[in-house]
């Protein structure tokens, strides 16, 4: 049951697209479409074509959560400046395909459908005929081809190809225009995760989306405009090269002129005190009654230099819908002020994994004796058993969430089963002591600390960055538990850049971070794959080993090699087999305690939602994760204010 929902992950697009498609074209005559009063006025004044001409022939019909909404209102949010442009990305989720609210399916958004060949090597994306950019220019296959030929294949703009466009042999997929509204992707090997990747090609993290407004950006591209002219423009704007100018012109938060396909388009910049988005009169979506979306007129992001000042404003009820930057430890205060601030607080748990996971460096070389101990599986199991997770849950996570290992959430098809999620999570000091005795750490000093064979006390240092405020507290609780079984534990709070640098150079013994990539082990920068940049200090030397083809670094254990094998294979097998492999991956993951999970499924990461009492159509349960672009996957265009 559980897995059947997710098998549809890669093929879901098709089924949904087909059903929406029929509804869209068959049941309404064109004059049945309605638009917002502000736009209707502009149509009357002759400044804008009528709504039926602005919509594609077959618009996206967005299901509403509670009811058909009312037009109007300003959605007040807060952001932390230009580096926080993903705040914008999450609100608009401007992509060809997007994740569903529960995160289990992928549905068409700007595109109409996607169809794989039987062997998953060829994917055909169909776009909506007659769809338009926010400036009224038509959108089509050429905009994807412009991205492919002139941006992705341009060495200056894209020095290294992203993983999703490459086949395992390293070659880039071929992209061809079939007709004005159809594009074909051809891979050398099966690409079953194609749609999962496409659902995230929305220009997040200052990257290029896979569809770009060619008619606008050609002005800044040397293939279409003399390079000298562009260099002149770049210099005038203070940029060193044309590529910087191009990147700047392409980023909607930096350049309001740049047309978008999203429900709202920027009218000011993210570097302004208020970053404003206004409704896109050409947005391709309607509700079931034919009302063009979005319902809400405007989104306003107010700039805050300090996250605490932002939280104070949230407590005062000055935001209409915001989870980003709301600090979980403020949950009790927020609850207390609900009535006065005229808002509601809801919580969305993280999408699996662990919200404070301990990574023990299994390739630590600075202290070879201790390194050997840390590479021992039984040692890590003992450390896991020694942790009193209930105490961490109550005192750090306000009693929210549950003790668990870093594996996917129970509702996720990759979930390996309760047995693995709860493995070694019971607080059992005796068993931990027995395991530690078993690996030869039997001698103790006067303080009850176990001695290494060379006579030095067994010491582990946990490096922790106060990124989510509560990790240093977790580290202190854990250190007490570990000292109780005879492992001397030092908690070192470090500035993040220093911590990252030490992590990269294999200097960290252990660290606390969150394991938030279990739902997407094959796309993005998953932490289970040791070949990704060391984003958890599990085995930095393994990365080196893979990067140098086995010449340098440390050879991974057979179990780790099996994980890497699974990651490579899962990308090319049909969905059913992918689920089986993924479950195996997480069984190995938990069995070997590569990471020690403490507490998970809390609303720690952008899961405490402050919502105006009049805000409507918000799903009560929602998948909350970065790849899902939460709250973007809640279909923000159908949010509305009750009058």
């Amino acid at each position: 049951m559980r897995s059947s929902g997710f098998i549809r992950l890669s093929v879901a697009g098709l089924a949904v697209a087909a059903s929406l498609g029929f509804a869209g074209s068959a049941s309404w005559a064109q004059d049945k479409y309605k638009d917002a009063p502000s736009l209707a006025d502009q149509v009357k004044a002759g400044k804008l074509p009528p709504v039926s001409q602005r919509l594609p022939e077959n618009p996206l019909v967005v299901p509403v959560v509670d009811s058909v909404g009312q037009y109007g209102g300003v959605w007040r949010r807060a952001f932390l400046g230009p580096a926080d442009s993903n705040n914008y990305v999450r609100v608009v989720y401007d992509a060809l395909f997007r994740f569903s609210p529960d995160g289990a399916k992928i549905e068409p958004k700007i595109a109409e459908s996607a169809e794989p060949s039987a062997d998953y090597k060829v994917w055909t994306i169909k776009l909506r005929k007659g769809s338009k950019w926010s400036d009224g220019q038509s959108f089509g296959a050429d905009d994807i081809l412009f991205w492919y030929n002139d941006v992705l294949m341009n060495k200056e703009l894209t020095p290294t190809l992203p993983g999703w466009i490459k086949s395992p042999d390293g070659t880039a997929a071929k992209v061809e225009k079939v007709d004005d509204n159809t594009v074909r992707f051809t891979y050398a090997a099966p690409a079953t995760l194609f749609l999962t990747a496409v659902a995230n090609q929305d220009g997040a993290d200052r990257t290029y989306a896979m569809f770009l407004p060619a008619h606008y950006l050609k002005k800044f591209h040397p293939t279409y405009t003399p390079k000298a002219d562009i260099e002149k423009m770049a210099q005038a704007a203070g940029f060193k090269s044309w590529t910087e100018l191009f990147a700047n012109k392409n980023a909607p938060p930096e350049n309001p002129e740049r047309p978008t396909m999203a429900a709202w388009a920027p009218t000011s910049r993210a570097s302004d005190p208020v970053f404003t988005l206004k409704r896109n009169p050409y947005f391709i979506g309607v509700d079931k009654d034919g009302n063009q979306l979005p319902y809400i007129d405007e989104v306003r992001f107010t700039y805050f230099a300090d996250v605490q000042a932002l939280n104070l404003q949230a407590i005062a009820g000055n935001f209409d819908f915001q989870a980003r930057h709301i600090i979980m430890t403020n949950y009790p205060v927020l609850k207390e002020q609900e009535k006065a601030g005229k808002y509601k607080v809801i919580t969305w748990p993280t999408f699996g994994g662990s919200d404070a996971a301990l990574a023990i460096n299994q390739t630590y070389t600075a202290d070879p004796e201790m390194g050997k101990v840390m590479a021992n599986k039984d040692f890590r199991i003992a450390l896991s058993l020694a942790i009193n997770r209930d105490q961490i849950k109550e005192s750090v996570f306000l009693g929210l969430g549950e003790p668990r290992q870093p594996v996917p959430a129970p509702w996720h098809p990759y979930y390996p089963g309760d047995e693995y999620a709860k493995k070694f999570t019971d607080y059992d000091k005796d068993k931990a002591n027995k395991l530690l005795d078993g690996i030869g750490l039997t001698k103790k000093d006067g303080n009850g600390i176990r001695l290494l064979p060379n006579g030095k006390p067994a010491t582990i240092e946990i490096s922790v960055v106060p990124a989510f405020a509560s990790w240093p507290d977790v580290a202190l609780l854990v250190s007490k538990d570990w000292e109780a079984v005879g492992i001397k534990t030092i908690v070192q709070i470090r500035e993040r850049a220093l911590h990252f640098k030490m992590r990269d150079s294999n200097e960290l013994m252990a660290e606390i971070w969150n394991e938030d990539t279990t739902a997407f082990p094959y796309t993005g920068n998953a932490k289970v794959d040791p070949r990704n940049s060391p984003i958890m200090t599990i085995g930095p030397a393994w990365l080196r080993w893979y990067a140098t083809g086995g010449k340098e670094g440390a050879e991974p254990t057979p179990e780790m090699k099996r994980i890497v094998e699974i990651v490579d294979k899962a990308r090319t097998v049909p969905p059913e087999e992918q689920v089986k492999l993924s479950q195996e991956l997480y069984r190995i993951w938990a069995d070997n305690m590569f990471e020690i999970g403490t507490v998970g499924l809390t609303p720690m990461v952008q899961g405490v939602v402050v919502m105006n009492n009049k805000f409507r159509n918000v799903p009560a349960k929602m998948g909350n994760d970065w790849p899902l672009r939460s709250p973007g996957n809640a279909r923000t265009e159908q949010f509305y204010f009750a009058k």
């Binding site: 704007a237 300090d306 971070w513 920068n525």
Partner: protein, 328 residues
Amino acid sequence: MTRYILQRLALLPLLMLVYSFVIFAIIQAPPGDFLTAYVATLASSGSSLSAEQIAAMRAQYGLDQPFFIQYLLWLQHLIHGDFGLSLEYQRPNAELIGDVLGLTLALALFSFVLTWVLAIPAGIYSATHPRSIGDHVLTIVNYVGVATPNFMLALVLMWVAFAYFDISVTGLFSPDYVDKPWSFGRFIDLLQHIWLPALVLGIAGTARLSRIMRANLLDELNKPYVVTARAKGMKEWRLVLRYPVRLAFNPLVSTIGWYLPLLFSGSLIVATVMNLPNIGPLLLRALVNQDMYLAGGILLIYSFLTVVGTLLSDVALALIDPRIRVER
């Protein structure tokens, strides 16, 4: 005098060159660079870049160059009056600083004037009525003012305003006016918001200033010339204001120079806490995010203001006190 000013001005470029190197070295001293900070920001909101992407961006921003090359490139731009491009904002630094300069100056001047208007009369009153009830009250207020860090005061006032008066005092404008062009309404809105931050910023200065004023004036009031003037029948308030107050000003005037940069940098934490759109939060963010050319640009301006401020106070001192002259 003119010669002296010219000499001092001639030293300025050399000083700025030294400062620029020191500033750049200090900004570069912490481990990591803008991209490390950017990756950390991304990591704390769930996303992450791959190693190749990071390397490509590092090359694009020129962060892979050695320290001296980076410094020389920066210097080369500076000499041409170009503050460079902010890594975070992707906009020219001069433009970013220019955007906030107006409000920074307005706030700084407002709190500067507030400081002097409150401190000088309070100091004179305390000195002329020593150990009276009024003097004791002012003394207590002053000690509290000096002893309380102003960001703490800002937090307390913000909480009081929110909890008891139900007004939010962050920012310099109400939401209706934040992104509107200048108008009379916006100006009034600014005046309604600016007094509290100005008071917070000025309070420590006010306290310090009035203590100094009190001490200086007390010294002067006991001098023989005051007694003589009083004996000759000069009116008390006229006497006090005309001679001892004027002399008591000297040490204060010599500190005006420090005020110039202090009013900018002193507002750093307060402005961040109160979410004021001035240069403070811009600098703090630039430092935290290691947006080094922006931070460097702002710090250079601070250094410049310090040098110019010291010169100005020396000149002002010479103007109000005829006894002070350049020695040859």
